[in-house]
């Protein structure tokens, strides 16, 4: 459902069916809509059976990396004598992404149900939902739903009366983007500074409190209950292109577009039709210029690339970008790419955790160069410097924050070099009127 707009007939609502329906927030309302049947079913299954269903469904991580969820769960070995943990990553901070927020606002029980099923599947008695601190409304709705679930005996010492302990806690973030990185998130839950950890060891070996841990995105976990209810085959069948990308995906669309919002489509949906048909295309009097399809950390696409893209993990890669988190940021001809990329770089410079040299210094330096360029002080040499710095910032650090800063810079210079050159040659931003400049 294209919340806040009404559902478009070409959407395939699975997760977003009840967006905007405030009754779905309450336990009774959720039950009336078929809620918690999947959990009941899951608690009667062995962990391995659940893992196999999720594996067969082809569900992949919706947070950005697209790692197969069932495979990730299978790294956890229930019965190894160690406490296992599930972390739900609800620290949705990627610029342009706001899908998890809507899941938590409208269907908090879907998330809780997904968390409970996943906890059982990986042998965890404890799950932490790490919610971004700025998400005051989702914090409140998920908190209220958790209270209801505990009161009803769905969670706690004996989940749904099965004797299995499943505890879910909300951990409120304090506003750092980097805490959405899985190992930084675990440090944050532990009460440490939210710095990413060196991998290996991977979380499945030594994660939260040094114990085997699985960490999944909100959208991933919310997709689990319908998979259990309807079966792996049903989910797997929802694919319009590559069989490696299955099910539906929520896309948050923002920027210069007629109908910004959250839209849910089947994997492999043509991006061109998505933008122009479902989202309403450009604003009147404008033409689209570029799109960042998967949150600010992925390379920028030209409209030519976007038009050729089928919306799945492979389709975006084949056309110069990545599916990422599904945060689609659309730019039309009113946007100065230099200014836009400079603003993105500024975000990363602000959010760098300061551990790795390349990221701490590089993000800030790139920002300074881009902002100078936007103000007319750039030189052709700066472009080479930017590309070289980006190269030095890619693939050399503990986490990918610095790579994420480099991606829009490199793709921006490659695909919109003429705009950079116009700034350099004209010694000012051509998008701003002479008076304004």
């Amino acid at each position: 459902m294209g919340f806040p707009h009404k559902s478009h007939p070409r959407e395939t609502p699975v997760l977003s069916t009840h967006f905007g329906d405030s009754e779905a927030r309450s336990l009774s309302g959720w039950r009336a809509r078929g809620g918690y049947r999947a959990l009941e079913q899951a608690l009667g299954m062995t962990p391995a059976e659940i893992v196999n269903v999720v594996k067969d469904s082809g569900l992949r991580g919706r947070g950005g990396a697209g790692f197969p969820t069932g495979l990730k769960w299978s790294f956890m070995k229930p019965g190894d004598g160690k406490p296992h943990y599930l972390c739900c990553n609800a620290d949705e901070s990627e610029p342009g992404t706001f899908k998890d927020r809507e899941i938590m606002r409208w269907t908090p029980h879907a998330l809780i149900e997904g968390c409970a099923i996943a906890s059982h599947a990986i042998g965890a008695e404890t799950c932490y939902i790490y919610i971004r601190g700025e998400f005051t409304e989702p914090l409140q709705t998920v908190g209220a739903a958790l209270d209801e679930a505990y009161r009803d005996g769905i969670l706690g010492k004996s989940a749904m009366g099965t004797g299995k302990r499943i505890d879910i806690y909300i951990h409120k973030g304090a506003g750092a983007y980097i805490c959405g990185e899985e190992t930084a998130l675990m440090n944050s839950i532990e009460g440490r500074r939210g710095n990413p950890r060196i991998k290996p060891p991977f979380p499945a070996v030594a994660g939260l409190f040094g114990q085997p841990t699985t960490i999944n995105n909100v959208e991933t976990l919310a997709a689990v209950p319908p998979i259990l209810t309807n079966g792996a085959e049903w989910y797997k069948a929802m694919s319009l292109s590559n069989p490696k990308s299955t099910g539906t995906k929520l896309f948050s669309v923002c920027g210069n577009i007629a109908r910004p919002g959250n839209y849910e489509v089947t994997m492999g949906f043509p991006f061109r039709e998505f933008l122009h048909d479902i989202c309403g295309g450009a604003r009147p009097g404008h033409t689209l210029k570029a799109v960042i399809p998967g949150g600010s950390s992925v390379p920028i696409q030209t409209m030519q690339e976007a038009d050729a893209t089928l919306m799945d993990y492979e389709g975006f890669v084949a056309n110069g970008s990545m599916l990422g988190s599904g945060g689609v940021i659309v730019f039309d001809d009113s946007v100065c790419m230099v200014r836009m990329i400079g603003r993105l770089a500024r975000f990363y410079a602000h959010e760098s955790c300061a551990q790795c040299t390349q990221c701490r210094e590089g993000t800030a330096w790139v920002t300074k160069i881009l902002e100078r360029m936007e103000n007319g002080g750039g030189t052709t040499r700066d472009l080479d410097t930017l590309l070289e710095l980006s190269e030095n910032m890619t693939g050399k650090t503990i986490c990918v924050l610095s790579d994420s800063c480099a991606a829009p810079v490199v793709s921006g210079i490659q695909k919109f070099r003429h705009e950079f050159e116009a700034h350099i040659n004209g010694k000012r931003c051509p998008m701003r009127s002479a008076a304004a400049a």
Partner: protein, 519 residues
């Protein structure tokens, strides 16, 4: 215990075999290859943040941090390949953009790893044209000053305080390029071992207030030594400028002090530079002491001692060599020897086993006891009426006039002549411990050598030389030409020391043999 599994790998074309779990960086050390690094330190937990030690591992998709990557069988590692060099060049450039190029006024210049690697591998020119970030200098308390602008945020200091001193005072405050090392509210670097953060800092960000602006690193002469300020025997480097000791720094020894030394030891060096020293032998002429030639003075000392029972009061910071010779002088008759030790509070370093500033604030208490000297708070109690008092560089506060009146003769061998001892019959000036070489035996019975770091004043001679000559004049075999000859004689006559020699001790020392029957 089972043997650790061994792994064979190739680093820069050299095959090396190391235990499983070793990092590539340590394996490279074993192969004789230095992987440039900043945040890694063998005495601290791995952080992997400076990204300087990135190396190319064949078949790996990305460059690997050598400090945080374990070796694997058959790995082929390139430290100096084009890709690795480019990555390091990139890191150096990033580190330098906000680093002030104030090497000419920076204490670290000359021993700065940022300077060294930039010189070796960095870019020849900077590309930053924006203003550098600026932060003021901060007093971290204790002996430590934080020059924020020079900091490369390697976090060695933070990890030392967290994991080794186990008193978390420091942190990384702020994020991005605004990040600095911060102090927790209301806390200071007052831990007795916190001065180590200055040594650990690879750049000039953490400085010693004591050493501030005292010398340039390249002006310093260095001598391997042993800290004389307690019985722990931390291995140190004595650094001198123009024959003045200006700094003591730890020297690594896995078996004693790892990489560290305490602030008490580090800062207690001024006595080494005392200028109120005895510079010439003195001999009594009637009611006054007059300067004399060495032979005359030795002669006078021997005459004063001859025919009397001798009671020696010695310093517990004398070398084994000197104490051995004093013991032999006492052994000619039924002489006795005693010493008093200054004591202070003990201060352990929690992160390292059996390492502490010890309560006994003298270097060779163990050695003195092994060589037959009695520890006592009243070391003159053994002085009987008519005895000759042999006073060897001990603390003069143990003396009172009555003791000296009771003595039949007084011979002083020392670095200084306190007022109370002006009644002595003969006074022989000796070098202090940084002016001679010798050995100490530490609290755990480890014999460790120290080398000469500066020249002795005037006519003062090494203690073993003076005592050897005195012994020879008393008719015993005692002519030694080297400190090592004295130690050889000691090793030959004392079973605990048997088998040891200056050569076998090297600069890391060896434990003495357990005396038969003991332990």
């Amino acid at each position: 215990m089972s043997e650790a599994k061994m792994i064979t790998l190739t680093i820069e074309g050299r095959q090396v075999r190391v235990a499983e779990g070793t990092s590539i960086l340590e394996a490279a050390k074993a192969a004789g290859v230095l992987v440039p690094h900043y945040c890694y330190h063998p005495g601290l937990p791995v952080a992997g943040v400076c990204r300087m030690c990135l190396v190319e591992v064949e078949k790996a998709p990305k460059l690997a941090p050598a400090c945080a990557t374990a070796v694997a069988e058959g790995q082929i590692v390139h430290v100096h390949s084009g890709k690795a060099l480019e990555a390091r060049k990139g890191v150096l450039e990033f580190l330098l953009i906000n680093h002030p190029l104030d090497c000419p006024i920076c204490d670290q210049a000359g021993e700065c790893e940022l300077q060294d690697y930039t010189f070796a591998e960095g870019r020849s020119e900077g590309r930053l044209i924006e203003p550098k970030r600026f932060n003021p200098v901060e007093d971290f308390g204790g002996d430590v000053l934080y020059v924020t602008n020079r900091c490369i945020l390697c976090t060695r200091c933070v990890r030392f305080m967290d994991d080794v001193a186990q008193e978390p005072v420091l942190n990384v405050s702020e994020r991005g390029d605004r990040a600095v090392i911060g102090k927790f509210e209301g806390q200071d670097l007052t831990h007795p071992w916190s001065g180590n953060v200055v040594d650990l800092c690879p750049v000039g960000a953490l400085l010693s207030k004591d050493f501030l602006n005292k010398a340039r690193a390249w002006e310093l002469d260095r001598a391997a030594s042993v800290c004389p300020n307690c019985t722990q025997g931390c291995n140190i480097m004595v650094e001198t400028r123009d024959n003045m000791v200006v700094r003591l720094r730890p020297r690594s020894n896995e078996d004693v002090n790892k990489y560290f030394m305490c602030d008490y030891g580090r800062l207690n060096y001024r006595w080494m530079n005392r200028t109120d020293r005895l510079e010439a032998p003195l001999v009594r002429h009637g009611d006054r002491l007059a300067a004399a030639e060495w032979e005359v003075a030795i002669d006078a000392a021997a005459r004063a001692l001859e025919g009397k029972r001798i009671h020696a009061v010695v310093s517990p910071s004398l070398s084994n060599e000197a104490l051995y010779l004093v013991a032999r002088i006492l052994g000619r008759g039924d002489g006795t020897g005693a010493f008093r030790v200054e004591r202070g509070p003990e201060a352990p370093l929690p992160g390292v086993e059996d390492l502490a500033l010890r309560a006994d604030r003298a270097a060779n208490v163990q050695g003195a006891e092994m060589l037959g000297f009695r520890r006592s708070d009243a070391p003159l109690a053994g002085l009987r009426g008519g005895d000759a008092l042999l006073f060897v560089d001990a603390d003069p506060s143990v003396l009172d006039v009555g003791d000296l009146e009771r003595a039949g003769a007084v011979v002083v061998i020392g670095t200084a002549l306190p007022e109370i001892l002006r009644t002595a019959d003969a006074v022989l000036p000796i070098a202090n411990m940084v002016e001679e070489e010798g050995t100490f035996t530490n609290i755990r019975g480890r014999v460790q050598r120290f080398l000469q770091a500066r020249a002795a004043p005037g006519m003062a001679r090494p203690s073993w030389w003076v005592l050897g000559d005195l012994l020879a004049r008393l008719g015993e075999p005692g002519s030694y030409f080297l400190a090592s000859d004295v130690f050889a004689a000691l090793a030959a006559s004392r079973s605990e020391f048997s088998g040891l020699s200056y050569d076998s001790l090297g600069l890391r020392g060896l434990p003495v043999m357990a005396p038969a029957g003991a332990r």
